[in-house]
Symmetry: C2
Subunit: 313 residues, 2 copies
Amino acid sequence: MKIMGTIAVNMPTLTILSKEEIAYRFVIEAANLPGLTISSDFENCDIVLGEPTMIRNALAALPRLKWVQSTWAGVEPLLDPSLRRDYILTNARGVFGGLMSEFILGYLLAHERKIFQRVDAQKNKKWDKLPTGTLRGKTVGLLGVGSIGAEVARTAIFFGMNVRGFTRSSETCMYIDQYFHNGDLLKFAESLDYLIAILPNTKETRKIIHAEVFDVLPKHAVFINVGRGSAVDEHDLIEALEQNKIAAAVLDVFEQEPLPREHPFWETKNLTMTFHTSAPSFPEDIAKVFIENYRLYIEGKSLNYQVDFERGY
Amino acid sequence: MKIMGTIAVNMPTLTILSKEEIAYRFVIEAANLPGLTISSDFENCDIVLGEPTMIRNALAALPRLKWVQSTWAGVEPLLDPSLRRDYILTNARGVFGGLMSEFILGYLLAHERKIFQRVDAQKNKKWDKLPTGTLRGKTVGLLGVGSIGAEVARTAIFFGMNVRGFTRSSETCMYIDQYFHNGDLLKFAESLDYLIAILPNTKETRKIIHAEVFDVLPKHAVFINVGRGSAVDEHDLIEALEQNKIAAAVLDVFEQEPLPREHPFWETKNLTMTFHTSAPSFPEDIAKVFIENYRLYIEGKSLNYQVDFERGY
């Protein structure tokens, strides 16, 4: 942190570039952070808190910029190699696990409990006792076991599921029953009831889920993607669904967002889409990440959740 | 247990009267229970395991009957005062909590996550980022805190909810934040986000949920009934939904089942029905209850989960 002048560090100016600026300002002002000025004056701005898409457009106009706190987990808009990288970029982490678990469990239970089929039965005035399933004893595979994956694993265990984790190397989550690594993707996918992708967008994760994976998944398996759309070969997924290689898919993320109207996903069989809403950035959650990081910042300490521009997360 | 002859107790004959007779027979035979014969010979039958509806029709033809183990929690078909009561009736308990929690959490999450609205958006090819809700911090009120209610409470706490319990008197569940009793039903219902009825069918519970309760519930509240249909005034519920006094209802149980085709519930606004499927009696679960009780039975001990014919549960 030696590059920072003492004045800037002690009396920093924060600019909020967020659609929820008012909510963020409210929470941060209430925290009475020492030395902090909140201002939309780009000339004097040291710190930016906000959405990567909005920050990207402002990057060139922030001469004093030292630190960007993203309100999102994903920071792709700021990773373009043509953009400056002379500042510390931190993302939002440790706050989405609970929300993501709610989303995933919601769709797992909707599947087991045949929530959509029962709505159709009601429309047809049919007293339809379709046999119900249970999560207990089912096996879920988590592609990616960071802080979100760990929380999803904890929730799956609560419901009596078996949990497999696929990671690059670390095996630190106590809620994973069985770990798999690099060469073992197909072994990991074999006999899963649910496959959940929670991967960032990197070179290594690009189209990691493709035809071979769908081929080894059981026909009754459900695939859920809450990470990044780039992790899936969209063509292979459509084929897997149309040919009943798997039972269903729930996609929250896509290669291109918003999804173009002409994209075949809109009408692909057994595909449910949720428009990138699985884990919203609630200002009261994200502001806490910023406040904790701000305290580290003014003390000249290393910030939490720093993004490696090369690695991509 | 003195009324039983030694021979009957030591070498009892079990008759299975269930739609899932084969599954029950398979699990019980595998348990190698001492002295037990499984037979459909009514003349020699000491014990019946099965569905109350099927057992009711056989009751008069079982001269040696000593014990009935119901595969259901609800035993109304056997409580008719015109029927014999000269046997021990035990119901299925302690096995439905997990299944019921899955059902309830499934519909709570479907509501928070706007699962049905997002399906409509997809049909209309609309990239619709309807803001999502979360269970965290919401308040659920459980009408009835037996073994099922306790498990639902534990699950709600896991998701960060606040939990209120309404019971006759006992306060034994550690997952209830706040207890309410007899006179306090309206205070209990005030400001709930979710009201869940898990009540058996008794004189005291009949239409306990009526217009006054719907009047004090917030407009955004959701009502879920997984107990018995008789606990709700159906007319008052329809009025509450049609007049937007509450946001939605999920009904698994009804005064009359199957629900008659001409019943207004089929088309009541914001009403979802699930055809009494919330906690199915899986033979592998219920057989365990029977097996444990059988061991008590041959030792002449008091059986678990005895039903009081007068009280009704």
